[in-house]
Each structure stands twice: as structure tokens, then as C-alpha cells.
């Protein structure tokens, strides 16, 4: 009998949906959109939360850190591999870089190139499509490509054994191809054998601990080993060998590494997951579902008046309440299932734009389809049950006689609850809107706030061997062009990862880590860096370093000296002791999320890796063409690539930009769902008030007065929603801004803007129905009644 009743109920439910198309669109359509959105968001969050989880040894893999640095000198990896039997494998990586490659006539850039120890494949799980993990990087000059890079370079042909010329400096032979490692905390495109590094850079001091803190180092512990015990053993080892810079080694588990956001130096080689963003996305997924579900509940309970008599009749014919609850719950589940089918189609369509907004790589492969299907059905069941239970209880509650008389729908409880849902919906949407405006405002603040250096029309090129060798000639060729005013070399530019020195002593004070940058005297002029005390560099060094150092104001404060100018600088990473000759006014080298770090500037032509070129206004296009022609003439083997300094710096705000996009899109969606719900409810409620409208008009009310009456009724609730949203948004906004060392504060503008926008949207939504009700013929209404 249950099966028969279910079939009968579902048949009736389907007919009801097709009869009330508007409400079906709003209820079912809204659920479909919400389910599609939530599915995408939750899939993305799942993807983010499972970064690195594909590694079979996940629970035994750790990254080695020490003294606030995420990167180690190369000697540490050697020591760990040879001195500690508790460690099963050790692998070092270099910092990721862009490698220019050439194969025959084909040229390009790899992106994501790392030098790596062969044990990397013992620690991390890579899927080899060609070659063997055990041998791929054991020999010098070996190269492992990802599948997509191999296809880009070699097309359909096998790359195995092929020679790739890299940076016109070293030949590497392809020894393996791996499946694209998407779910890894490091974005790898290609791996070269670490042993090649020492050959390519003979100056690399592989045996020292004081400098070259630049190599992420990973270990896989032997089974049963505890990281705490090993940390102690490593500390004791280095202390006993007199290497105090490594006396506080920490092993960070790989499992939590992706989301780790602590202030570690050198931690920019990897991808950084944003845990707060995942929380925001899950919250949005839940909110959006909640909004759509409350729309459904609201409409279902509002439509209860139409179904009162049906309930009375069914009860009169012998149905008990349980049967009616099951019937209405069944209708809700059917609506939810239909919504999920619609959502499935939407997910397919929205996948690509979604990946663009969130920089994700979601795909609906066949492998994941069974789990996705089960999850989708589960979600439909949960949403259908939750959104259907209240209407089912409300609809089935009336006693038969009361239902037949149509008395139960005149109660106030349902109306209050429906308005309560509207208030909650708008409160959530307005909170999202205010937070979005705060994030937008902060992003604008960071981009617009002075950085302390000039970045307008400054082109930055990455140096190659040829340009480095003919540095001065290159400079003169550029300065010979009228539209180019300044040229200066440096190791890095603001917005890029700066090097650090492990332990430098300034004015007798030993500092564990300072950021350093090798720069020319011209660099200060080009960047318009101001001297706070002392002077700049006295002369330009053509070859080796000099004994002159500049420090920034932050470092000067750390030293705690009355006048740091003249302080001795010893134990430097470049081996050149000297003195502080001047203090530079603080300027931002990283995003305004971080406080300005202590910075030491020095000259060292051998370390220069960038050339910055200042272009006069109006000459940008011609100057770029000139720069390119000079480059191609002096270094034809190397691809001409350039960037602008302001773009390099602002690229740090990609996470904020991503968050802004996410919040903007989903806030708009939340508002849309809330407004659609309001529209549905307003259209229904104006129908039920036609008699009231007719009577008012007969009594003398104007059409505009009646329209205002309707609109005003709803706007009261939206205003109440704002009062609830403001404190919530204030707390969220303030918490978010606290994550920034520099922020513009929380002004009233986002709050006022959000309130005005919500009121305007609500008024526009309701006014369509209000005007229709107000301009109707009262006689028709009364006759209808």
C-alpha cells in the first residue's frame, strides 16, 4: 500500500509543479541553482583539502625548517641522508624558476622548473608514464617532464632520450614523463637532477651552512619514528658540530603544509592554500542552499492556503496525519530530485567559468562519477527532507473541519515565520555584500597606497648569461634611446621572493635572518628610494662586491642603535664585510598583508638577475620595441620576456583578487535568490490580499498609496535584516582586516551602500506585484472573491 500511495502522491506532485509554473521555477529552479553552486564549491573545497593526500607516505613526510626559515642550505639534505638512520629518504628542491628551453627550432619557457634529488620520487608519489622513478634523476643532466609540458614541447612524439637545451647554458636529457601532479603543494612542470645544479653553478657552496638558505628539504621518516625525537637528535647533532644556526630544527608534516601560512622566510616557492577561503566557500555553499531551501519552504507554506481544502478532504476520506506528512515530504523530495537533475546539467556548463574564477582545475571524469552521483542523490535527499519537513508538518496539521472551512490559514504564525525567513535571507545576503565591499575596498587600498618606490612605467627583464656578461653595453644601448630615462640592475625587484642571509652581524648584533637584495646605486634613483640618514652607495661596483651596505628603517629600529650609520657588517652571505653607510626609508618589498621586513642592500654584480628600465610617459610602445631589438641583437638565444614592475608587485594580490571574485559572484547569487524568493512571496501575498485592495480602493485609496503600502510592508523587514547584518558584517570585516599589516580600516561606506542597495532591490522586486495589485479593477477582485 505504501508503494501505491507513493506513486499516487508523486503523480499528483508532478501535476502540481506543472500547474504552478512560476512557483515551480522559483522553488525548484532556485534549489537547482543553489545545488549546482554548492556542488561546485564543495568539490573545489574537497580538492583543496586533499592537496598532497595522494602521497602514499603522507603521514611520514615532513619538511625541514629551522630558525624561522622554510628553506635550508644544501648541506642539510646531505647530512640528514647520511647521519640519521631514522630517516628513510631525503630530497632537496631548488626554488622554482622559468627555464627557457630549445629543442631544434622550437623555443619556449617551462614555468615550474625545479632541480631535485632523485629521492623525491621515493618520498612523493608521482605517476610515471614513461621512464622509471628509481632512475629518472639519478644521473646528472637528467630531465623529467610533466605530461602536459612534454606534449607542448614534443607533441605526439616520445620525448625519452631527447636533449633539451636550457637557458642556453645546459643540455638536459629527458629520462621520464610524469602525469601532471595537480594535487601537490608545489606546481611542478619539470624536474632536473640536483647533481646538475652544482655543475651549472660552480659558485654554489654545497658544504656551507651560513648562506644559500634556498632549498626546500623534505624527509620521509622510517616507520615508527617520531618527528619530535628526530628533531631533538638533529638539534644535538648540529650543536655538537658547532653549527648553531641549525639548532632549532622543526619537522613540519606534509599533511598541513599547504594551508600553513606562518611567517617563514623563503616559503614562497610553493602554492599556498587559503584556509580562510575554504571556510568562506563552505559557508557560502551552506548559505546558498539555505537561501534556496527557505524560498522553497516559504512558497510551500504560503501555498498551504490553496491546499487546505485538499488536506481537509483527504483527512475526511480517511488519511491520517502521517500519510499526509509522507505525501508532502514526497513532493519535496521530488522537487529536490528534479532540482538536482537541473543542477547536474548546470554543473557541467558552469565548470569552466568556475575554474577561471577560483583558479581551480575541477573536472567531471568518469572515475569520480559513481561517488558524485551518490553524493548528489544524498544531497538531494537531505535538502528535500530539510526543506520539506516544515511545510509537511504545517500542511498536514489542520483538523479536518477547520481545513474544510479554510480557517487554519488565517493564523498569524505562518505569516510571521515567512517574514522571518525573508529577514534571514536578506540578512545573510547583506552580510555577504558588506564583506565583499570591505574586501574590495581593502584591495583598492593596497593597490593605491604608496609603496615607497616608483613603479609607473618601469619595465623589468630577467637577465640571462649574455646580458649579464655585457651589462654595461646593454645599459648604454638602452639609455641611448630618448624615451628611456634610467636603467638599473638588481638581484630582485619588489614583489619577488627576496633572498635571506642566515646569520649576519650588524653593529655587534647578530640577526638570525634579514632580507637582502643586491642593487646598483642607480637602483635607488630609479626606484626613487629616499635616504633617511647617511648616504647612498658612493660608486658603482663593476665586478665584485663593495664594503658599503644600506639598511632600511625597520632594520635600523631592530638594531636599537642611536645612529646605525657606520656600524660594522660582518658574517655576510657574500663574504664581504663592510659598514652601514646609510639608512633607506622603508619601502614595501612584499604585499601590504605583511609588515615591511628588515632589509639589507649591497652591491654584488655577480648576483644581479634583473634589469629595471624606466620609460618616459608617451614612449611605452616605442621604448619596448627598442628594448626588444637590443635584446634580440645581444642575446638572440634567449626569449625576450618582460613585465611591468607594478604588475609584478600587484600579482601578490592574486589571492585577494580571487577572494573578491568569489565573494562578488556568490553575493550576487545570494541576493538574486533572496530577491526571487521575495518576488514569489510578494506575488502570492498580493493575490491573497486582492479583497483588501478592492475594499481600500472603494473606500478611496489611490493606486500609489496601495502600492506604497505593499512595498513599505516588505521594506520594513529588509530594514530589520540590515540591522542584523551590520554587526555580523562588522565582526567579520574587522577580523579579516586584522590579517593585514596595513589596511584602510572599516568605514561606514560599505554598510550604507549595502543597505541602500538592498532596499532598492527589494523595492524593485516587490513593486512589480504591488503595482499590479494596486491598478487592478476592484470589482473584478471582489467578484473573484
Amino acid at each position: 500500500m505504501a508503494r501505491v500511495m507513493i506513486y499516487a502522491s508523486l503523480k499528483a506532485a508532478w501535476r502540481r509543479l506543472t500547474r504552478h509554473k512560476l512557483y515551480a521555477c522559483i522553488g525548484v529552479g532556485g534549489l537547482a541553482v543553489a545545488m549546482a553552486t554548492s556542488t561546485l564549491l564543495l568539490l573545489f573545497v574537497r580538492q583543496e583539502m586533499t592537496v598532497d593526500h595522494g602521497n602514499q607516505k603522507l603521514d611520514r613526510i615532513y619538511r625541514v625548517e629551522s630558525n624561522g626559515s622554510a628553506v635550508m642550505p644544501p648541506a642539510v639534505g646531505r647530512d640528514l641522508a647520511s647521519q640519521f638512520p631514522q630517516i628513510e629518504s631525503v630530497a632537496r628542491l631548488s626554488y622554482g624558476e622559468n627555464l627557457d628551453y630549445r629543442v631544434g627550432e622550437k623555443r619556449g619557457s617551462t614555468g615550474g622548473f625545479f632541480w631535485a634529488d632523485p629521492a623525491l620520487f621515493s618520498i612523493f608519489t608521482f605517476r610515471f608514464l614513461q621512464g622509471e622513478a628509481s632512475t629518472a634523476l639519478t644521473r646528472p643532466h637528467s630531465l623529467v617532464l610533466t605530461e602536459s609540458l612534454a606534449e607542448r614541447i614534443f607533441g605526439n612524439r616520445s620525448p625519452m632520450g631527447r636533449v633539451v637545451r636550457c637557458d642556453d647554458m645546459v643540455d638536459l636529457t629527458v629520462t621520464g614523463v610524469i602525469a601532471d601532479p595537480r594535487q601537490m603543494h608545489v606546481s611542478i612542470q619539470a624536474l632536473g637532477s640536483f647533481s646538475t645544479l652544482l655543475e651549472v653553478y660552480p659558485g654554489l657552496k654545497a658544504e656551507q651552512y651560513e648562506d644559500e638558505w634556498a632549498y626546500p628539504t623534505y624527509v620521509a621518516l622510517a616507520r615508527g619514528q617520531r618527528p619530535g625525537d628526530l628533531e631533538g637528535a638533529i638539534d644535538r647533532y648540529y650543536v655538537s658540530h658547532g653549527i648553531h644556526g641549525l639548532s632549532t630544527v622543526h619537522l613540519r608534516p606534509l599533511a598541513g603544509l599547504y594551508f600553513y601560512s606562518g611567517p617563514l622566510l623563503g616559503d614562497t616557492y610553493r602554492r599556498h592554500g587559503d584556509h580562510d577561503l575554504q571556510v568562506v566557500l563552505v559557508a557560502i555553499a551552506v548559505f546558498v542552499l539555505f537561501l534556496a531551501a527557505t524560498n522553497y519552504v516559504n512558497l510551500a507554506t504560503a501555498l498551504a492556503t490553496e491546499r487546505e481544502k485538499e488536506v481537509g478532504v483527504r483527512k475526511a476520506l480517511g488519511a491520517h496525519r502521517g500519510q499526509l506528512v509522507a505525501q508532502f515530504l514526497g513532493e519535496s523530495l521530488l522537487a529536490s530530485l528534479l532540482a538536482m537533475l537541473g543542477a547536474g546539467a548546470m554543473v557541467e556548463l558552469l565548470l569552466s567559468p568556475f575554474n577561471n574564477v577560483l583558479h581551480g582545475h575541477l573536472s567531471l571524469g568518469l572515475a569520480g562519477l559513481p561517488l558524485l552521483t551518490v553524493s548528489a542523490l544524498g544531497l538531494a535527499a537531505v535538502v528535500g527532507s530539510i526543506s520539506g519537513i516544515y511545510p509537511a508538518l504545517v500542511l498536514s496539521r489542520p483538523a479536518p473541519a477547520a481545513a474544510l472551512r479554510g480557517e487554519s490559514s488565517r493564523g498569524r504564525k505562518g505569516a510571521i515565520l515567512r517574514r522571518g525567513f525573508i529577514v534571514v535571507q536578506f540578512a545573510i545576503s547583506i552580510t555577504l555584500l558588506i564583506v565583499t565591499l570591505v574586501v574590495l575596498s581593502q584591495t583598492r587600498f593596497m593597490r593605491g597606497r604608496g609603496t615607497g618606490f616608483t613603479s609607473d612605467r618601469v619595465v623589468v627583464l630577467q637577465l640571462n648569461r649574455e646580458i649579464k656578461r655585457h651589462r654595461e653595453a646593454f645599459r648604454q644601448e638602452l639609455l641611448g634611446y630618448p624615451g628611456i630615462s634610467k636603467v638599473a640592475y638588481s638581484c630582485r625587484v619588489p614583489g619577488e621572493n627576496l633572498w635571506t642571509w642566515g646569520a649576519v652581524t650588524i653593529g655587534g648584533k647578530k640577526l638570525p635572518h634579514v632580507f637582502v637584495d643586491a642593487v646598483e646605486p642607480d637602483y635607488l634613483d630609479l626606484m626613487d628610494l629616499k635616504i633617511a640618514s647617511g648616504r647612498g652607495f658612493s660608486r658603482r661596483s663593476e665586478e665584485g662586491g663593495t664594503d658599503e651596505y644600506l639598511i632600511n628603517e625597520t632594520l635600523a629600529r631592530m638594531l636599537g642603535l642611536d645612529d646605525p650609520v657606520g656600524s660594522a657588517v660582518v658574517d655576510t652571505g657574500n663574504g664581504d664585510d663592510g659598514r652601514v653607510v646609510g639608512v633607506v626609508r622603508d619601502f614595501h618589498v612584499a604585499s601590504l598583508r605583511h609588515a615591511i621586513p628588515p632589509l639589507l642592500l649591497y652591491q654584488h654584480p655577480g648576483s644581479y638577475g634583473r634589469v629595471s628600465i624606466a620609460i618616459d610617459p608617451g614612449h611605452e610602445a616605442d621604448a619596448l620595441r627598442h628594448i626588444q631589438s637590443v635584446w634580440e641583437e645581444m642575446a638572440p638565444e634567449f626569449l625576450f620576456r618582460y613585465d611591468f614592475l607594478d604588475r609584478i608587485f600587484n600579482r601578490q594580490y592574486q589571492e585577494e583578487a580571487r577572494l573578491t571574485h568569489v565573494l562578488t559572484y556568490f553575493t550576487a547569487l545570494a541576493m538574486l535568490i533572496a530577491c526571487v524568493g521575495l518576488f514569489g512571496l510578494a506575488s502570492f501575498l498580493t493575490l491573497t490580499r486582492t479583497k483588501e485592495v478592492a475594499i481600500r480602493k472603494i473606500a478611496g485609496a489611490t493606486a500609489s498609496g496601495i502600492a506604497l503600502l505593499f512595498v513599505g510592508d516588505f521594506l520594513r523587514w529588509v530594514l530589520l535584516a540590515n540591522l542584523i547584518a551590520w554587526p555580523a558584517a562588522f565582526l567579520l570585516g574587522r577580523r579579516w582586516l586584522e590579517g593585514y599589516a596595513y589596511h584602510g580600516g572599516l568605514s561606514a561606506l560599505p554598510f550604507v551602500s549595502a543597505t541602500l542597495l538592498s532596499l532598492i532591490l527589494a523595492a524593485a522586486t516587490v513593486s512589480i506585484q504591488a503595482i499590479r495589485a494596486a491598478t487592478g479593477n476592484p470589482v473584478e477582485s471582489l467578484r473573484w472573491e
Binding site: M1, V4, M5, A8, A12, R15, R16, R19, K309, E310, G312, V313, R314, K315, A316, L317, G318, A319, H320, R321, Q323, A399, P400, A401, A402, L404
Partner: protein, 225 residues
């Protein structure tokens, strides 16, 4: 069949108490056709609702088929209704989303009658009431007379011992009204007890007995004809 003793019903709205029935004593034997008449608001529909177990009495007792049903819980009432009572309403009260066939079939669904038997019985009744050709139509597609015939068909499909009709011809023209009264009379001749609320003297003439209600009490009773 039906015995009520001092049956009372009071409606409470905020602080206002309205006495709809004020101590009604009623006895209806099996097979009787009783008409209930009275001005608007006298308690006719309330009496019918209590007799049909659609509402609960505030005071007094109600025995139906020898059982004291006064304080039955809703589940027992529902069981009693589907087994023993059929309803005919003034405004037909057919369910718009169900076809004629499905509307008439509904009581049999709640009784758990197997599909084949349901089909046979519904088709027979629809044929008797001359609306078989409309079986797949929805109520909105029928005339008033046809709708009421469908409603009566639904009321009798489960062969109830008692039929309660609230103004069954109120929304019909005279011709269709006559048709419906003919059907009710015919059912009564077959042994079904019928209690009918009506404003129409012509309809009341079809009954064996007429009760007159005023202000919630039985004030007069016309003898059996």
C-alpha cells in the same frame, strides 16, 4: 446507529467563546434519511462535522454504530471515517490535481484495496453515475452537476453505512439538484443512512425526518413521513 447526548461545541477565538452547538440530543436509526434545517449560523454544519468525526465535541457524548467515539484520537477517527462514513460537500471538494477516476478511487487507496479491485469498483460506480466517459478529466473540466456526481461517487465508493451531505445541491441548478437528490434517495432505499443539511424545503421533503436547529439547539422535529 447514531446517538448523541447533550452534544456541545464551543469555538474559542482569542477571548471570545462562541457556542455553536448547545446540548444536542439526537438519535438516528440505521437506514433513516434525516434532513437538518435552520438559519445560517444555527450550527447545522457544526453538527455534521461532529457526526462525521471531522471535529471534536467540547461536551456531551457521541455513539456511532454502538461505539462511544467522543474521545477517539485522530488516528482512530480517520479509520472510522474511511470505513463507515461518506461525505458530500456543497462545493464538491474534488482535488484539482487528480482526475475524476483518481478522486473517486481515493477512499479505496486509503483502505488499501488492491489495484484490480479498485479499478473494477470505480468503473462500476462511475458508470452508475453516468460519468465514466469523464474518468480521465480533471474537475475543472466538468460541469457543476458532473462534479457533484463525482463527489457523490467518491462518497459511496467504499460502501459506507452513513453518508453526510452538507448542502449537496447548494451550488447546482434545479435539474442537477434533482439528479443528486434522486441518487441520495436511491442510496437510502438501499439501506444507507443519510443525514443531510439543507436550506431547500424541496430537498428536505425527500427525507424521512426533518430536524430544525436554532442557536445550536434542536427546536423542532418534523415527524417521519
Amino acid at each position: 446507529m447514531i446517538v448523541t447526548d447533550q452534544l456541545r461545541k464551543v469555538y474559542y477565538t482569542d477571548e471570545v467563546a462562541t457556542t455553536a452547538l448547545d446540548g444536542v440530543n439526537l438519535q438516528v436509526d440505521g437506514g433513516e434519511f434525516v434532513a437538518v434545517m435552520g438559519p445560517s449560523g444555527c450550527g447545522k454544519s457544526t453538527l455534521l462535522n461532529l457526526l462525521g468525526l471531522l471535529d471534536t465535541a467540547t461536551g456531551g457524548t457521541y455513539h456511532l454504530a454502538g461505539q462511544d467515539v467522543t474521545h477517539f484520537a485522530e488516528r482512530r477517527r480517520a479509520r472510522m471515517r474511511k470505513r463507515s462514513i461518506g461525505f458530500v460537500f456543497q462545493s464538491f471538494n474534488l482535488i484539482d490535481d487528480l482526475t475524476v477516476f483518481e478522486n473517486v478511487e481515493l477512499p479505496l487507496l486509503y483502505l488499501g484495496v488492491p489495484r484490480a479491485e479498485r479499478r473494477t469498483r470505480v468503473e462500476r460506480v462511475l458508470n452508475e453515475f453516468q460519468i465514466l466517459h469523464r474518468r480521465n478529466h480533471f474537475p475543472q473540466q466538468l460541469s457543476g452537476g458532473q462534479q457533484q456526481r463525482a463527489a457523490v461517487a467518491r462518497a459511496v465508493i467504499a460502501a459506507p453505512k452513513l453518508i453526510l451531505a452538507d448542502e449537496p445541491t447548494g451550488n447546482l441548478d434545479s435539474a442537477h439538484g434533482q439528479e443528486v437528490m434522486d441518487i441520495l434517495e436511491s442510496l437510502n432505499r438501499g439501506g444507507t443512512t443519510i443525514i443531510m443539511v439543507t436550506h431547500s424545503a424541496a430537498c428536505a421533503d425527500r427525507a424521512n425526518r426533518v430536524l430544525h436547529l436554532l442557536d445550536g439547539s434542536v427546536v423542532a422535529e418534523e415527524p417521519q413521513r
